[in-house]
């Protein structure tokens, strides 16, 4: 490691705690008919699991639902994961 790690920092697809998507109980489903690509969901995602192209990385999405709560078009719904 070239730089010293001082603070736990997680980056999309390189999380500090492995693939946290396995913790998910509710999965975000995007209705592309309603989505106007405003990007607010990506801005609010606490794990930066939504890319600039608004693709949700399900390997890291913990299913917190903040994106669904913040979406002004109500284009994201949370569905329980099937076991």
């Amino acid at each position: 490691m070239s730089t010293r790690m001082r603070l736990a920092i997680s980056r999309p697809t390189r999380g500090a705690c492995g693939k946290t998507g396995s913790w998910r109980v509710f999965r975000p489903i995007v209705d592309l008919e309603k989505c106007n690509s405003c990007g607010i969901c990506a801005m609010f995602c606490p794990d930066a699991a939504i890319s600039e192209d608004l693709e949700i990385d399900l390997d890291f999405c913990k299913g917190c639902g903040i994106c669904a709560h913040e979406c002004p078009k109500k284009a994201i719904r949370m569905e329980r994961e099937e076991k």
Binding site: R4, R6, L7, A8, I9, R11, C17, A48
Partner: protein, 370 residues
Amino acid sequence: MLTVATGNKAVAAAVKDACPSVVAAYPITPQTEIVEQIAEYVTSGELKSQYIPVESEHSAMAACIGASITGVRTFTATSSHGLHYMHEMVNWAAGARLPIVMANVNRALGPGWNIWAEHTDAFQERDTGWLQVYVGSVQEAYDATLMAFRIAEHESVLLPVMVNLDGFLLSHSMHPLQSVEIRDFIPPIHLPHAIDTANPAGYGTLTGPDQYFRFRWDIERSMRDSVNVIRETEEDFRHRFGREYHPVEEYRCDDADVVVVAMGTLGKEAEVAVDLLRKEGVKAGSMRIRWFRPFPRLDLSGRDVVVIDRDYSFGFGGVIARSLAATEGAKPFSVIAGLGGQEVTYDDIAGFVRDRRPGEEFWFGVMPDV
């Protein structure tokens, strides 16, 4: 420039000279004058900072954390109950490796309600990962605040620094103050893990049992490295501005048979007591501990030691006395004096030395015999 200033105004003047980008603060006695003065500097345009008046100390530290993590210089000030209201965020600032500088005006904790000097407030934050320095004069409050920014922001440290000054004894007493032209004494801040909007990330995220200890160790590694950074900074300060500081200020210790150890203004009072005792033929000296974290080494071998604690850890003892017992194997005469601003004169300190009983603890004003 030579002026006359209170300890509070001296801290504010140093903050103006260090020019932090963000100051977030909440007033609390006896610190209020610091943040009021900084607000005046910002209003008058003398200090180009964002001043964020917040609704609590917890928010003050949280705002400093948010600002600092973008890579800018930040400052706040508090005291006593305010310090403990922000306790959670005090831990966060150190754990997130943010070089925030905070002035803490030492004040006792209630109840009984008391606004006067005591060190227990800051000692209760000793395990948070903050560096802590305690000053003995108004001039030193200014000088230590300037140095705090450089030490905190040094790449080998990147930890927050708390500058402590005794409530009222320093915060509200006026002394001569010589300010300096700092020029490049404090280099521009560079935070290697600052937020980069082009490369989004989650900060201080969940860290499991397989990783957490590594970050704790890195704090301790930086704490150890800070010893040299403090030495370099104090040496460069002396070189540039002529005033000399060390982690421990020794006074007439070379041939001393008995050494008084104290902090803050009591450490200065002890120097007067030493002069008095020397006139009586007692070979006394004093050591004023300035840096409490990282805790310094003291050369106490072969000497009687009298420790004055303006603090107490209930069920354990005076914090400095017990620390020196642990680090130096000292068996001090442990004096608990000055709690809640209790008056302690150099005559009293000379009395502690004359009637010392090594290995015992003595509560000044409570127990008889000294």
